[in-house]
Amino acid sequence: MRNLINFLFKYSTWIIFIIYVIISCILLFNNNPYQHHIYLTSANKISSSIYNGTNYITSYFHLKDINEDLHHRTSILEQEVISLRKELQKYHDIIYNDTMQVTPALSQYKFKIAHVINNSIHRAHNYITIDKGSNDSIESEMGVIDQNGVVGIVNIVGENTARIISILNPDLRLSCKLKGNDNFGSLVWDGKNPNEAILEELPRHAEANIGDTIITSGYSAVFPEGIPVGIVIARANENDDNFFALRIKLLTDFSKLGTVRVIKNMMKEEINSIEKSSKNTN
């Protein structure tokens, strides 16, 4: 027993060192961003209040109020555009197939305005923190956009703050398609340039020209169809011969992110309840 205590005293530095290294490695290799606890991310109370304070000062440089009014206006207009587009789609479908009934999901999406209080663009895995949380009915896995295009997906929600996985994070894959022809692929960031990303897994036969616009596909229920994402600037190499990839210039300027809109999908609960009931019957 005495020898053991002597041993522990003698090598206490190494023991402490090893314990700390193990703790750090557990944190480091707990890779899935959905598993991170809220106290260990920038959405916790202390860090969010500090970021709130600094943002209060720096937002004067960006003329916060004028921006917000403009965003409010654009969000109303955008909602209108989406509903009109849906209406148009409905008539299109009726012309092509008048036996099938299309659900009138005009008010399926709602927008909430939020301010970015912390943002990074130059790390390998980038996250954004906003100042709205569960008190403003923000939930995880909601889509986030700004006036130019897609920003990311909500991941951890606190009472008054939420953390967003930015598109500039290799963990996020976004289903997108080429405007004009409906060939879709998945958008992923390659970690090099915060203004560019790669659209992968496009089918071989799809046609794409430099300057074409990339929009969201609407397959995931997180983003409505047709939100602009980027512009094709070059072809990129894909390992697999059956697919090809495109280099995309992102429309969103992540270095100037100020006010964003969180998309609430009103049909989500309905979809979830249907999925739940189907599970119960099984």
Binding site: S12, T13, I16, F17, Y20, V21, I23, S24, C25, I26, L27, L28, F29, N30, H36, Y39, L40, T41, S42, N44, S47, I50, T54, S120, I121, H122, R123, A124, H125, Y127, R163, P170, D190, G191, K192, N193, P194
Partner: protein, 173 residues
């Protein structure tokens, strides 16, 4: 003694706030990132026991991790640096008993030894951070460029902070 504790307590808080609010937003030419908070680890007194150095460095790294969403990256690098600090110092300054002041500075170590000591720690820290970060995305040229530019930037800022604090102390005396 209690004066030193209060001094380091404030240094701890100021370094975290400075790193989180100011230096985390700087990215020169899209490659160079200043990692200034390790100034706290550089400055810890030589006489402080290794266990305390490890613990304080780990807590420092952990706080930075929480603020900047990096999950254990900085805590791991800080712990390793804290373990190597004593050996680096011994490498350049073998006679530890000759120190006039337990706190490493230009006065206590001499300008040559001190700059070598700071540069080695900054270089090691940046290499560790960028290596840990690039486990998932590997690009050797960019990695080396990032390490070199970030080391130079961090080194310049730390020497700058040091020269300011030394001038103030002299004025007080």
């Amino acid at each position: 003694m209690s004066k030193t504790i209060i001094h380091f307590f404030f240094l701890f808080i100021i370094m975290i706030l400075a790193q989180v609010i100011i230096f985390n937003n700087i990215c020169l030419f899209n490659v160079a990132i200043p990692i200034v908070f390790i100034y706290f680890i550089i400055k810890l007194p030589v006489t402080l026991s290794a266990n305390w150095v490890l613990t304080l460095s780990f807590i420092m790294g952990f706080c930075i991790d929480i603020f900047s969403d990096t999950h254990g990256m900085h805590s791991l690098a800080c712990t390793i640096i804290a373990m190597m600090r004593r050996n680096i110092l011994k490498l350049y300054f073998p006679r530890e008993d000759d120190l006039t002041n337990p706190e490493p500075s230009i006065h206590s170590l001499g300008i040559g030894v001190y700059t070598k000591y700071v540069f080695t720690i900054v270089l090691l820290y940046n290499s560790l951070i960028f290596l840990i970060e690039s486990f998932s995305i590997f690009n050797l040229g960019l990695l080396i460029l990032r390490i070199i530019t970030s080391t130079l930037l961090t080194f310049l800022i730390i020497i700058g902070i040091d020269s300011i604090t030394i001038q103030r102390r002299e004025k007080r005396l």
